[in-house]
Amino acid sequence: MNAGTTGAAKVIRARWVLYTAAVLAGGVTALALLGPLFAGQPAEQVGGPYQGSSWPHPLGTDGLGRDVLDRVLHGGRVVVGLAVGATALATAGGLVLGVALGSVRHRAGELLMRVVDVLLVLPPILLLLLLATGLPGSDLAVLLAVALVTTPTTTRVVRAATHRVARADYVDVARARGDGWWHILRRDVLPAIARPVLAESGLRFVTAVYLTATAGFLGLGQPAPAANWGRMVAENLDGATLTMSPFLAPAVLLVLFTVSVNLLADGIADLLARGGAA
């Protein structure tokens, strides 16, 4: 998941790919966030198990006879919401840590970075499962774990960017002028590292969506009967021989979302990098 993006990004610059990805990602996000407003009770039994599509229940019912459309409308908010929250937390954490490590002397910064890097060795899903054992049945554990997994990479990028800026002439000038560190940080450093940080947070969001969806599938976070697209895939797989839609609807939505977010983040990172070079 934390694959290098070196060089590959610039090829996907076909505009139509980006526009399609933006529309799809926006559409699924809107459905996930606004869906609960239009849906009935997601935990209420309305019919027999695994009934096919019918007028009151266009996507059929699941194994407990619950309306699948209602559950689909309710189940996206937690996936998208946790991913957004974790990315915000990781970006904030990575920003603070990265600027701090990038400002101190090189040797010390390198040493501290190594400590942060230790977290990168553990496979992300393993860390997710560990925290879920400590804080069972809690969405907060998923949020914290995903933020923790994505923070080291962001810290590394921010630190590298800060390090470049900290040695720039205009920062030297500002320092010689007697500007305070907060002033330098706000006026000189932050604007200069904004682009890479923004690009990075987009790429981390991709990882975050991947992890929150997987957490749902593994049964982590708020337990049943709460609706969650990831968990719905697990719940309804057994009934796929009887009726496909309860399994297929959340699975297709998640595939559309992960692919479009991925292409979009890649394209945006590329645009920001090219804009930064010009």
């Binding site: 998941m1 560990l130 804080l135 599938f217 021989t241």
Partner: protein, 322 residues
Amino acid sequence: MIWRRLLLTRLAGMVATLAVLSVVIFAGTELLPGDAVSAVAGQHASPAQRAEVRTQLGLDRPAPQRYLEWIGGALHGDLGPSYTGGRPVTDVITERLGNSVLLALAVYLLLIPLSLTLGTIAGLGSASGRRGRRADRVILVATVSMLGVPEFLTGGLLLAVFAVWLGWLPAVSIAPIGGSVLDDPQALLLPVASLLVVSLGAATRLVRAGVANVAGSPYLEAARLAGVRGPKLVLRHVLPAALGPATQVISIGLGTIVGGAVVVETLFDYPGIGNELQSAVAGRDVPLVQGIALTLAAVTLVALLLGDIVARALDPATGGRP
């Protein structure tokens, strides 16, 4: 001599990393408020029963002491008894680890040639004419798209198509009692395919980046002018230079495959260590979770070290010297 020094520093670094990770694993599962006692004694246990279970599990002693005992036992290959059934954690791990390693090896066996082929086509295409660039773009969009799709979705969709809809392949891979998963190799197909789809994206991109770097270089132009063409050009001049990044495939893919194995093994009910970890987490079996996590961390570190050594040995820039 140089190799020996390199190995020694790397091994020391590995042990230090594993020590830090063991603290992370222990703290993550034991110090957080999730209480193992309720998992064992049940939610409606009386305070007296809870106290008794607490003493039984040794949870009344201070955490640092328990950590030292745990890690001391681990050094002797003893990870304590699991909560459910009291089976030694080490036994559970040795029974299941082999199946997971088998799964990972099968994935690598396909991943390496596939990513090398696709990455070379894309990388060479990026530096040549219209058709080459088109191939490059198609391969990239396809692999980037697959990169962020969770394993349970690719696996679930493969399952829906091949096991449910077409009925060609078994939906679960339960090994016969006393037998091995190899008795029914068909059952391996879907788990391997699901893991492959996700790791192929990352691996192909790495190889492509390495090849694209070489493809535009004067060095390759010189070889071309000297009359080296076709497969020979690729095998003799492109691949060796791209092998450095390509060996990273092994390391990069590792986190994906180890993490993905938990998901895929759960999905297909494959009798591996990842499946065991998932059910241990669901059952709040803390010693089992800790033992498996420590094992997976150690396996990951060893594999990273091996990948690093191979990368250094193959790197033409150093001529095989570290």
